[in-house]
């Protein structure tokens, strides 16, 4: 299926969830609303015979400036077609339904996004930091992240430069 066909099917089935379709981009993507039936849509994508997206290639967190976002790259081993899903959530208290039990890949990737962007994934089986220590403060990949000077009394930035480079 082409991206256009996938979009048409989804739009018919989940008119509230599907917000926008961009076919101009290098890789056409569908924008979705995380709050309305997002999980059900993913489940449809995975289980429907014609869709059969069984492989979640990549799940990335993005900081769009104001909102945060998550991007899902899906692939079907059987039909060899792919689609990109994009979600935007509020900067503070943003929530996305977890798809970790649909695609296990999402388990660690959602934890990573939670770790680095602070987006909460509801219904995730084990949502805790993965790359950073459990008691780390802040979410480093947000654009407005300020590196703390100390972590448990250990200086993070070089004491002389305090993180500034000589420019």
């Amino acid at each position: 299926m082409t991206a256009q066909e996938i979009y048409d099917t989804l739009k018919k089935k989940f008119p509230d969830t599907v917000l926008e379709f961009n076919s101009e981009a290098l890789q056409p993507f569908i924008k979705l609303d995380a709050e309305k039936q997002f999980y059900e849509l993913c489940q449809f994508l995975r289980d429907d015979e014609a869709m059969d997206f069984d492989f979640l290639r990549c799940l990335s967190g993005v900081d769009y400036g104001e909102p945060l976002g998550a991007v899902y790259h899906l692939f079907s081993m059987k039909h060899r077609h792919e689609i990109v899903l994009k979600i935007e959530v509020a900067r503070e208290g943003g929530k996305i339904p977890s798809v970790a039990d649909l695609w296990r890949t999402a388990d660690w990737h959602e934890r990573e996004i939670f770790d680095l962007y602070g987006i909460t994934f509801t219904n995730h089986p084990n949502l805790k930091r993965i790359l950073l220590p459990d008691d780390w403060e802040g979410h480093p990949l947000r654009k407005d992240y300020v590196t703390p000077e100390y972590y448990n009394g250990i200086p993070i930035l070089h004491p002389d430069t305090k993180g500034k480079t000589n420019e």
């Binding site: 981009a25 290098l26 890789q27 489940q43 289980d47 069984d54 492989f55 979640l56 290639r57 990549c58 990335s60 967190g61 993005v62 900081d63 991007v71 790259h73 081993m77 060899r80 990109v84 039990d101 649909l102 695609w103 296990r104 890949t105 388990d107 660690w108 680095l116 930091r129 993965i130 790359l131 950073l132 220590p133 480093p140 990949l141």
Partner: protein, 387 residues
């Protein structure tokens, strides 16, 4: 859908009820000889049998993605070297091609051929390490030194090409950093002639050793649907019999011009998808890589490999997900550009990250020695998992 509909993640343990046993929690790593780096696995064991295994990662986190947002497009390339430090060329390649597609940049023919040659050489080097360390995990020390002997020759070739032995920074956007020195292509050909018979040597000492087969066959079986669900890719997924190789399925660079086969596990020694199959796929892939290198060496045109390297990289706003086949599997770069000097976001979908995440699903019910075999067969590189 309820979680019970998921592919099985836990195999039943055969322990009778009247045997009262106590669980022991065991921390395997971060300093352990066979976790292939600073990986920690928290094991719950019943005697030698593992009840659950939970990988703890992040000990080697080096903030690649944060760094990438603060340096220019070109300066990201040396950082990509350090993701999967065993197959740096392949890491360079994915990033460079991703940017070229975003910029709609044509790459010089000679540079394309050079890229394929170095990528495949590096694939061999990486698979050699996978083989050697796998032997080490199973307890055979000698094959490890045999493969390092031959890997050394590949590193020598790379050193002659770009001056570096491990972290190359060789494949640049639009081409490669240096053209091949005179006679280098002949040396590569010589190497392939030397190397092909050597694979038989490894097979004799390790692959078809009875004890090795006993240890690896029927161990750590990843059923194909479980593998796909967990995002396993590369030789680890092909070992389960799934024909998925991005060089064939989504050809990048000039891979569509070469004649090679995708190797998949057939369960020759046990079940499809066991550790022996994953190991065997790597051995077989080395033959295919040699095939590709030979064809590329014969067809490489004359020309200036640096012709199309742009002075300034101007990437139009937009995003692109570029996936390439590295020795470990699907390495994806999700690059977002806002039109500026620096990338807005470079997300790395690292193959070993997803490959390792399948461990909790296949570990329960095996023995500690098998867990070592399973971790080894997934061929993880912690530099790439923790980024």
């Amino acid at each position: 859908m309820s979680k019970s509909n998921l592919p099985p993640t836990q195999f039943e343990l055969e322990i009778s009820d009247d045997l009262k046993t106590e669980e022991m929690t065991l921390s395997m790593g971060p300093q352990h000889p066979s976790t292939h780096g600073v990986l920690q696995v928290i094991l719950k064991t019943d005697g030698e049998i593992i009840k659950s295994a939970e990988p703890v990662i992040g000990y080697l986190h080096r903030c690649f993605e944060k760094h990438a947002e603060n340096v220019t497009y070109h300066q990201v390339i040396p950082y990509t070297d350090r993701l999967d430090y065993i197959a740096s060329m392949n890491n360079n390649l994915g990033y460079a091609i991703g940017l070229e597609r975003m910029m709609n940049l044509e790459v010089n023919e000679r540079a394309e051929y050079l890229r394929v040659i170095v990528a495949e050489l590096n694939r061999i080097a990486s698979h050699l390490i996978a083989l050697g360390t796998y032997g080490l995990d199973i307890g055979a020390f000698t094959p490890f030194l045999y493969v390092f002997r031959d890997r050394e020759l590949i590193l020598d070739l790379f050193e002659e090409l770009c001056g570096a032995r491990l972290l190359y920074n060789y494949i640049w956007v639009g081409g490669v950093a240096y053209d091949a020195p005179q006679g280098w292509i002949d040396k590569v050909k010589e190497f392939t002639d030397y190397f092909e018979p050597k694979i038989k040597e490894y097979n004799d000492i390790l692959t078809f050793n009875k004890i090795f087969i006993e240890r690896t066959a029927n161990v750590g079986v990843i059923p194909p649907e479980v593998g796909i669900n967990y995002g396993v890719s590369g030789p680890s997924l092909r070992g389960s019999g799934v024909n998925f190789d991005l060089r064939k399925d989504a050809p990048y660079s000039i891979y569509d011009r070469f004649d090679f086969d995708v190797c998949i596990g057939k369960g020759e020694m046990g079940t499809v998808g066991d550790t022996w199959d994953r190991y065997w796929v790597r051995v077989a892939e080395m033959f295919e890589s040699v095939k590709i290198i030979r064809q590329a060496c014969d067809a490489i045109p004359e020309g200036d490999a640096k012709e199309t390297v742009p002075r300034n990289i101007k990437v139009p706003p937009g995003d692109y997900y570029m996936a390439t086949e590295t020795p470990r599997g699907e390495l994806g770069y999700y690059i977002i550009s806002d039109g500026g000097k620096n990338p807005n976001r470079v997300k790395v979908r690292s193959p070993a990250y997803s490959n390792l995440s399948v461990l909790p699903a296949i570990a329960p019910g095996v023995m500690i020695a098998d867990l070592v075999a399973i971790i080894g067969s997934l061929d993880i590189v912690l530099g790439e998992i923790d980024r």
